[in-house]
Symmetry: none
Subunit: 299 residues, 2 copies
């Protein structure tokens, strides 16, 4: 059995922080300061791991390592909860039943519970008030080691299936015509599906290419299907720099009359060229569609 200790390789694997970086942090900031085995090799504690995961999460959120690493775990916790929109905080306890199902592998109950919530709330409120925050909660639970990867995957599949099912009920005609996809480096498809649901509700016609579409194919499909807009979804972990660059390139390659819409947790940080519209996920797809109709009212 493990003696509560993790070597540097294990920590690298579990946190995604490189060995070099872990050592550098230790030298510069005094944390993490692992014990040593008889050979002088680092032995990290479970608490170290926990704290590192917190730090990682906050760095992804935009904080600088220099500020974060000297902080005590409790301070990190408060920072994390404070920096999360109040809606999600209050709800945290509400998600526990779902997470419990997930942890116990009771996928049937999980699916039933979600389906019930969908029928109870209706599609729009389900996406906004349940699916979106719950997905965030699941992500956080994973970060804290609270659930495993395959459990997160199972959750994702269930939700995708439910959403696809619900979306399929709606006719697919109307305006504007949207091409939905993610850039090649973005593999998170859940946000895309939620966006599709919200757009469909607004009466838009959606053509989804799934995730990871090469730029050339996006351009090709957009022209061939004569879409009005290309809608891209970005998760919070997507590099803002790379995203902005690719959007700029896409803007150049697309005909001027085709708009670019972006949304998702990572969309806020993007620098958008003229002719690109942003929806701070997940609140405003409906506003985007409304605004589009206003712009095209005279035609």
């Amino acid at each position: 059995m493990n003696t509560q200790g993790f070597n540097i390789t294990a920590v690298e694997r579990d946190t995604g922080l490189s060995k070099d970086l872990l050592r550098m942090w230790e030298r510069r900031y005094g944390f993490p300061a692992p014990a040593r085995d008889p050979h002088g090799e680092r032995i990290y504690s479970g608490a170290d791991l926990e704290r590192l995961r917190l730090v990682k999460r906050l760095i992804d959120k935009g904080f600088r390592p220099g500020k974060l690493l000297p902080l005590a775990p409790s301070e990190l916790e408060t920072l994390l909860t404070e920096s999360t929109p109040p809606r999600a905080i209050q709800a945290e306890a509400d998600w526990e039943p779902y997470l419990a199902c997930l942890r116990q592998g009771d996928l049937v109950s999980l699916r039933n519970a979600l389906q019930k919530q969908l029928v109870l709330q209706g599609l729009q409120r389900f996406v906004l008030d349940t699916a979106a925050p719950l997905t965030i909660a699941v992500g956080e639970a994973w970060m804290r080691g609270n659930i495993r990867v395959h459990e997160e995957h199972a959750y994702s599949e269930i939700l995708k299936s439910l959403l696809r099912h619900a979306i399929a009920l709606f006719g697919n005609s109307g305006h504007p015509t949207l091409l939905l996809t993610t850039l090649p480096d973005e593999e998170h498809g859940l946000g895309l599906l939620m966006a599709e649901a919200l757009f469909i509700i607004e009466g838009a016609r959606c053509i989804s290419l799934g995730t990871r579409t090469p730029l050339a194919d996006i351009v090709d499909a957009a022209i061939r299907h004569e879409v009005d807009c290309v809608a891209l979804s970005f998760s919070a972990s997507f590099s803002a720099r790379a995203g902005s660059q690719q959007i700029r390139e896409l803007r150049e390659r697309l005909p001027d009359e085709i708009e670019i819409w972006v949304g998702g947790g990572g969309a806020a940080a993007l620098q958008l060229p003229p002719g690109a519209f942003s929806a701070i996920y997940p609140s405003s797809p409906s506003e985007l569609v409304t605004a589009w109709h206003q712009r095209h009212a005279e035609d």
Copy 2:
């Protein structure tokens, strides 16, 4: 102590306002005016963030930054609420598409359309805003000879199936415990099913006996299942005289502590004995349940 504040990157991520823009606003309008850390880097407060989010939403709505930035948060709030027109409720008497499906015998489309509406609205609003008025519309159409009997039956079956399906998603436990049925002369089961849906949403436990239950069986089942209330559904065509008589009889045969609830289009005309509560169907099942909980709060 916990109010560490946010650096400019975090604010950019959370608001979608570029760093450049944040700095420029500070230079030009004096807001946001974040504190500085020992190295001169900006530290934004949670309140700043909140206010910036408000400003962003208003700018997206068409206001000019110059007007917005000097305003206090409370003024921004009022501006936002005032400028947001109440969402138009579309669900007016637009039942014709459904009736058309029915007339053409296109039951698949009808079912799909209803299912879609259910997912779109959520169960409660679906029952109140779609199922109930549509059922009335179908009844009227039949009166006018606008649709045939078997078409009305088909409609009824489809709706029942949908409602049963939706109801089955919900657990059946809670308070109060209700026995749902209709009197022997009442054969309309749709209202019963709609009532069951609304009660289930309110967290009540429902035991449904279907339609046309003899009085003796109602009494028997109510006692055996230890229900709190017997809920009866009356269609508009039910004879008020006969209904009142039977309710009085039921009241005498039931134990005093078991309440009698009545609802449906024909309930308003009934003369109720003491100990019977009326819900003018279909608006008030939730009020009935709430009132019941208040009456039983001290137990």
